[in-house]
Amino acid sequence: QGYTPDPNAKTGGAITITYKDDVATLDPAIGYDWQNWSMIKSLFDGLMDYVPGTTELRPGLAESYEISEDGTVFTFTLRAGVKFHNGREMTAEDVKYSLDRVTTPETQSPGAGFFASIAGFDAISAGEADTLSGVEVIDPLTVKISLSRPDATFLHVMALNFASIVPKEAVDEHGTDFGKHPVGTGAFKLDEWTIGQRLVFAKNEDFWREGVPYLDALTFEVGQEPIVALLRLQQGEVDVPGDGIPPAKFQEVMGDPAQAARVVEGGQLHTGYITLNVGIEPLDQLPVREAINMAINKTRITQIINGRAVPATQPLPPSMPGYTEGYEGFSFDIEAAKAKLAEAGLADGFTTELYVMNTDPNPRIAQAIQQDLKAIGVDVEIRSLAQANVIEAGGAGAAPMIWSGGMAWIADFPDPSNFYGPILGCAGAGEGGWNWSKFCDENIDAMAIEADSMTDPSAPERLEMWSETYMKVMEQAPWVPVFNEQRYTMKSERMGGDDALYVDPVSIPVNYDYVYVTE
């Protein structure tokens, strides 16, 4: 199915992966963290899936699907004989149940919004209905999903963790504790969970895809300081450090050829940016925002993070479809920036605040930004706060500038629309929304909606339209796109499998289903 598994792969063996933060939940409707995202991917499946190591869609639990002419009705034919970890066979009822569950308010799913295009979503989220009217069970192996409007990204949405299929009886049994007792159809099943210490996943022998997974078990050790995790990797106790190579150790690792050979580098659907709040003086003036865009020395900022990123020119990362090739963006030019400020009548500069999350390297980046802006006479005060406080200030529109690092947008799915709606569109500009620049341009919004109404997500005209949308956004300069982070992962010597599996853009940090050990 669009992917040829590694012919050298060996079955058997177990690997150890570490994370700093504990796993909050393995409930696919709720989990939205760095560490549980890929775990859930291995435990559960959705109707759609991606080709490992790429951003290419392929059917998952659905064997095939049909899309109506107008792009509003999706009919999925399910794979027969797929079993949940509890042994029961999956049916179309489970699909309906799962979609109802993720959208119903009681579940408090942070991903409910992704399903907004399904007919009946508004009723269920307002509590007026307890089922999605747009999801219909045709027969045990067929589900029809009707949308209230065409949605080009819908298949991507169906590949999200939130769209995973869960068995009703298991959810009923454990209630809100389902997240601690996950039952899915995935390649692995939860074997042991010692809270605060480790999770052990065991191979799902009945997995519906032939030949995978290779590994017998995965052990996740949580609460591991990244530096210590790296020490343990060097000692051979750990196979993959889930949080990557800590900045403090980066040079050491890269300086040692033996270790550097085990480092895998890859792109990531990530952009680090500074939001410029268009509702706060003097950032409400376009020349001022442009001036700030021109004043940031992006090369130096990438140097500060040991060159683990490439300077960005636009909101979309280069590997995202719709990325505008050849767009230069605002180039670093202090004189031009000063001229822009003078144009806005602020030749003497002004004072403003930059909010930043307080974990390394973000405060350092903020200080580099601060120094850059000082060069054009803008005095920036840094507010280095806990994540929750930054989000609060951003949502309330109280923060003139926010450096997105640590909370930055990593795409949920590889589609250009994912970078627009909540963070640049009018929808997110309201009180509490994630559009921290509070930038809202009706015309651009209309363009975005139009692009999304196209049926084929990868149609060139759609991508063209998105490209244009983001260019229009850049004309208004509500952001300073600073860099696109590169992922650097390290693995132990015995780990096998394509490098792309270790920098899988959707299954971060590793696509557990396809990697193997060589010994």
Partner: protein, 293 residues
């Protein structure tokens, strides 16, 4: 009785005796150095404290080790560490001396009052102290600092508000036993007012304890400030403080040890210096110790 009584001390004697002690002199010298460094930082420092020097980083973004242009090396942003240590001394002195001092004052005030007055005032004060003690100090600090926008003075105040509790406890115990002493009863028969007894007869006796607690508290508060910075509720960057220099760089302790050990040593020396001076001062001020040096 052998007639071995010392001659009455001239008023300036205390200072002179203090100066005669080598260790105290050493302590005083360090304090003078730090205070001088902090005050005259703008004139002494070779660079601006938040200037990210181009030549301060290698091509790979690594900091420069001590030597050459940079006496103490540079930090992860290519700033001169020596300069930042000088400016950081301002912050750290404020925290370690002022905030810690205020905490000591509050603690002493509460402890003495509770121990001296007893009755319901004492009971209320001590129950309050118990309550504060049961409160995880770090959480309190985080909340307070997050509620008020973080700034140097807020942080100092928060530290003072959090750190007085232990002092209060210890002072309380000592005051209760002091007020049982006979000379306090003697004062009362003379008709001395409570204030007088408190200030003239109880407080001076608490000095040795306060010196120990106060000087050990210097390191603790300086590090607490850094913890708060680390949690995002401390002094805001790029303002340097010895504590946050350590905390910013602690993961780099192998790659760039100077970024951790230089400020660490500075904190240690400062605390030690105050202790040496405090110890000497106590011996000098305490007439009963006279002649034992």
């Amino acid at each position: 009785m052998t007639q071995s009584l010392t001659a009455p001390a001239p008023p300036a004697g205390a200072l002179r005796r203090l100066l005669r002690r080598k260790l105290a002199l050493f302590g005083l010298a360090i304090i003078a150095l730090v205070v001088g460094g902090a005050i005259f930082a703008p004139w002494i420092a070779p660079f601006a404290p938040d200037e990210q020097l181009f030549e301060g980083l290698t091509l790979f973004g690594e900091p420069m080790p001590p030597g050459g242009d940079f006496l103490m090396g540079t930090d992860l942003l290519g700033r001169d560490l020596f300069t930042r240590m000088l400016y950081g001394a301002q912050t750290s002195l404020l925290i370690g001396v002022v905030a810690n001092g205020v905490a000591l004052l509050i603690g002493t005030f509460v402890g003495v009052l509770a121990g001296f007055l007893r009755g319901w005032v004492g009971a209320v004060l001590m129950r309050f102290t118990d309550l504060m003690m049961a409160f995880p100090a770090l959480l309190l600090a985080i909340c307070l600092a997050a509620i008020f926008q973080p700034s140097l003075w807020i942080v100092a105040m928060v530290i003072a508000l959090v750190n007085w509790v232990q002092t209060a406890r210890v002072v309380y115990t000592e005051t209760t036993s002091l007020s049982e002493r006979e000379f306090i009863a003697a004062e009362r028969t003379l008709g001395a007012s409570r204030t007088r007894i408190l200030f003239k007869h109880i407080l001076p006796h608490l000095v040795p304890t306060l010196i120990v607690w106060g000087t050990l508290g210097i390191s603790v508060t300086v590090l607490l400030e850094a913890t708060l910075s680390f949690l995002g509720v401390g002094v805001q960057p790029p303002t340097p403080s010895w504590g946050n220099i350590i905390f910013e760089n602690q993961t780099y302790f192998q790659a760039a040890p100077w970024l951790v050990f230089i400020p660490g040593a500075a904190i240690l020396l400062l605390a030690l210096a105050f202790n040496l001076v405090g110890d000497a001062l106590r011996d000098v001020l305490d007439p009963t110790q006279r002649g034992n040096d």
